[in-house]
């Protein structure tokens, strides 16, 4: 069974939902931010929240956590890494994903259900999704406006690194080209602002987020079986 490791920073708050979401697809463990050994982990989740109080810039300090060196090595070896919300910000600050997340254009904290389109099924976390599928999952953030210089955005589009895009009329924060999530060049590191871990049970309105965890679990099975 695929083992997910969910990183817990001081100030993380979506770590337990991420643990619960990943646990529905595989086996999930919490990883304290001082951990430097990712042995036995098949996929890493960097969860949402307010790591280090969002001081300086969201994610700017968490990227220097001891565990992030191990995450960078894990990613360089092709290991699947998913950054959600603050986790996405951390991965961008760490240079594991392109771009940056700026304060929302409307200057307000946005907290609502949005429709997100999956554009690429060739990443570690979307293998089980049909391209064009619409997911109903919530956003809740203050700094979620995706930014990269225009030429970098062109490159991302050309390389198929735009993985999730807000559906028409659903861009909650002024993100460039409606980008909700991207992947790295290796396609194993994925980040998005919406929260799939908050959409894993019909009880809370949608279970559309399960597909991301299930995709990683399905892709991780061969690796897990080899161990």
């Amino acid at each position: 069974m695929t083992v997910f490791g969910v990183i817990q920073f001081p100030g993380s708050c979506d770590d337990r939902d991420a643990l619960a979401g990943a646990d529905r697809a595989g086996e999930a463990r919490m990883l304290w931010h001082e951990e430097t050994d990712l042995g036995g982990i098949d996929a890493v989740i960097v969860p949402g929240g307010f790591s280090y109080g969002d001081y300086l810039r969201a994610g700017a300090i968490a990227r220097f956590s001891p565990v992030m060196g191990a995450v960078a090595e894990f990613a360089a070896d092709g290991g699947p890494v998913l950054g959600i919300c603050n986790g996405f910000q951390v991965l961008c600050e760490a240079g594991l994903l392109p771009g940056a997340l700026l304060p929302n254009a409307g200057l307000r904290f946005v907290c609502r259900q949005v429709e997100v389109e999956v554009e690429r099924a060739d990443t570690a976390f979307t293998g089980g999704c049909e391209p064009g599928t619409r997911l109903s999952i919530p956003v809740k953030h203050m700094s979620g406006r995706y930014f990269a210089p225009a030429d970098a955005l062109d490159d991302l589009e050309a390389n198929g690194q735009v993985v999730f895009r807000y559906a028409e009329g659903h861009n909650p924060n002024g993100s460039a080209r409606g980008i909700a999530g991207v992947c790295g060049e290796g396609r194993n590191v994925v980040g998005l602002m919406p929260h799939p871990e908050h959409a894993v049970d019909p009880l809370t309105g949608s279970d559309d987020g399960l597909g991301l965890f299930a995709s990683a679990a399905a892709a991780g099975e061969p690796a897990a079986a080899r161990r």
């Binding site: 600050e93 940056a100 700026l102 304060p103 929302n104 254009a105 930014f147 210089p149």
Partner: protein, 102 residues
């Protein structure tokens, strides 16, 4: 260190301040940009640029300037004055650096 959003990047905080000004009777103010100021004491100015690049600013979205002011430390390291004193240093061209330095 003076850190501000790069030119051309929407700064909603600056816009909000700008829109509030006419209501207070301040006319003719435009292009408001809100950044942040980081003050610190350092024994040497050698690595301040690197410090900005790696932590204090995100060069993708922010520009920074470094201004060095030579003065007695306001917060000496030890009570017995064991802290090494830095030699006087004149601001040079390297002090206003950054520009994002990508």
């Amino acid at each position: 260190m003076l850190i501000r959003p790069k030119e051309g990047i929407l700064d909603p905080q600056g816009k909000a301040v700008e829109r509030a000004l006419p209501a207070l009777g301040f006319e003719g103010v435009s292009h408001v940009r809100v950044g942040r100021l980081v003050e610190l004491e350092a024994e040497s100015a050698d690595h301040l640029g690197e410090l900005c690049e790696k932590l204090l600013a995100n060069p993708l979205i922010e520009d920074y300037e470094i201004e060095t002011v030579d003065q007695e430390p306001r917060h000496p390291r030890t009570a017995d004055g064991a802290r090494r004193r830095t030699s006087p240093r004149q601001p040079g061209p390297g002090d206003v650096g950054g520009g994002g330095g990508q």
